[in-house]
């Protein structure tokens, strides 16, 4: 009986390893989460009624557009006639999906430490494939929407959402400002750890490697999580930019040793091989 019990437990243990391996991050997970979020917002959040002012602005815009189109048709305003064409091309590109991709906000709060690292820096990098990117591409939807204004009493969650919104929209400076505001006002919030990491990535995008390094170290100091792989990769990138190759190598080795199956491990190995 005990041998049978062992066999069952052996099978379950073996299966457990199989489940672990199948829980890795897949290319396109960020887009999947983005789609889920959009679907839920559509179903559960009623669209706010447009204010009279907004309606008036829309109406004025409509009248202006009709006027421009009419002028273009009459050949009276050749310079302005080009504008709708450009905008139409962008719309078509957005509809076709080119550049509509995105990096939805990266999040892994302390509670979500066991989350697979779905990150701003790996919007479409296959697991274990080439070098993950450290840039966040704006989505067509996000680019079209301005980051909503925040009042002085905004919560950590609201600041976090706004920072992500700005980042996804490609507004790096605003995303940095909002992230800094979050860290200054809510340093112990659940969002703070994740913010250090996303801020580090944003700083890398801005070419501020020293600031980026500080953010990745702050993330590490808070205990990290599964997103540690991304933090180590970011740290290595920052050290590389600073020309500190010995420390870069240490960070890459740590990444490969601690997270051999992470999306970044293959890129780290490749970089290690290239280092003298």
């Amino acid at each position: 009986m005990s041998a049978e019990r062992d066999e069952v437990d052996d099978l379950l243990a073996l299966a457990g390893r199989g489940f672990d391996r199948e829980a890795e991050v897949f290319a396109g997970d960020e887009q999947r989460v983005e789609r889920i979020e959009r679907a839920v917002q559509k179903r559960y959040v009623a669209r706010p009624r447009p204010s009279p002012r907004r309606l008036a602005v829309s109406a004025a815009g409509g009248v202006f557009a009709v006027g421009v189109a009419f002028a273009a048709w009459r050949g009276l305003a050749p310079g302005e006639g080009a504008r709708p064409a450009v905008s139409g091309a962008r719309d078509a590109r957005d509809r076709s999906g080119a550049g509509a991709s995105s990096a939805p906000p990266w999040v892994a709060t302390k509670a979500a430490d066991s989350a697979p690292s779905i990150t701003s820096s790996t919007p479409s990098a296959p697991v274990g494939s080439d070098v993950p990117r450290v840039s966040a591409r704006p989505s067509a939807r996000a680019t079209a929407e301005a980051t909503p204004p925040l009042d002085a009493n905004a919560t950590a969650a609201a600041l976090f959402a706004a920072a992500n919104h700005a980042r996804v929209a490609g507004n790096v400076a605003q995303a940095v400002a909002l992230s800094q505001q979050l860290l200054a006002r809510f340093p112990r919030s659940a969002e703070a750890g994740s913010t250090h990491l996303s801020l580090g990535m944003l700083r890398l995008q801005q070419g501020q490697a020293q600031h980026a390094l500080a953010e990745f170290r702050a993330y590490e100091a808070q205990g990290g999580g599964d997103a540690m792989a991304e933090a180590l990769w970011g740290k290595a990138q920052a050290l590389r930019a600073l020309g500190r190759s010995n420390e870069e190598m240490e960070a890459l080795n740590e990444l490969v040793r601690r997270f051999p199956r992470a999306a970044y491990a293959a890129a780290a190995r490749k970089r290690l091989a290239a280092l003298p």
Binding site: E4, L11, A15, F26, R32, T109
Partner: protein, 204 residues
């Protein structure tokens, strides 16, 4: 422990966010879903199999189910455990529906136990692990729902038994008993299909 999400001693950092999301706060819903979305995908992949074509749909349905159920969450378990359980149950329903369709169509679950045997004997640890995982998933389809739930939360998602008890609202002893029954069913399945045994080579 594999991906066990709860730490009862600490306050649940997602609780306030979940409450705000449950009230329909747009920003909170966004942050909440971006936080739990990867977990929904992870659970769907664990229960269905990573390459299952319905992983995305199940993750989305799970998100709807979580949003519907959030107002009923009273903090008996962490929000993340709650989310994972909802996702696991949603995915298991899909598996069961598929299994029922297959049974009706073929009178056979189509699972090749010879393939399992050779995979378990394989020196390729990854292959053995993958095939064992699939065997456990097949078992989930056939167990009574309560036992399947315990087996899925404990063995597939890595919850501890107290976490399973907290999230399912069942007494700990009941959970233990359900797990015993699930393992007994697996043992019986292994007796009928010796190919499932990891030590099949040594015993033969």
């Amino acid at each position: 422990m594999r991906g066990a999400p709860s730490e009862p001693e600490r306050p649940d950092p997602l609780a306030a966010l979940a409450r705000a999301a449950g009230r329909g706060d747009r920003a909170a819903i966004r942050t909440f879903l971006v936080t739990v979305g990867p977990h929904l995908l992870r659970v769907a992949r664990r229960v269905l199999g990573a390459r299952h074509p319905e992983v995305d749909d199940v993750a989305q349905d799970s998100a709807f189910a979580v949003m519907d159920a959030l107002p009923q969450h009273r903090g008996e378990c962490t929000v993340l455990s709650f989310v994972c359980r909802v996702a696991a149950l949603t995915a298991m329903q899909v598996r069961r529906r598929e299994a029922a369709l297959k049974r009706n169509a073929l009178r056979d679950d189509g699972f090749d136990f010879e393939q399992v045997a050779s995979a378990l004997r394989s020196p390729d640890d990854e292959l053995s692990a993958r095939v064992s995982a699939e065997a456990v998933r097949r078992l989930l389809d056939t167990l009574p729902m309560e036992q399947a739930e315990v087996l899925a939360l404990h063995c597939v998602l890595g919850f501890t038994l107290p976490e399973v008890a907290d999230s399912s609202g069942a007494p700990l002893e009941t959970v233990r008993s359900r797990l015993r029954l699930a393992k007994a069913a697996l043992r019986e399945r292994m007796r009928r299909d010796p190919a499932l045994s990891p030590s099949v080579e040594e015993s033969s």
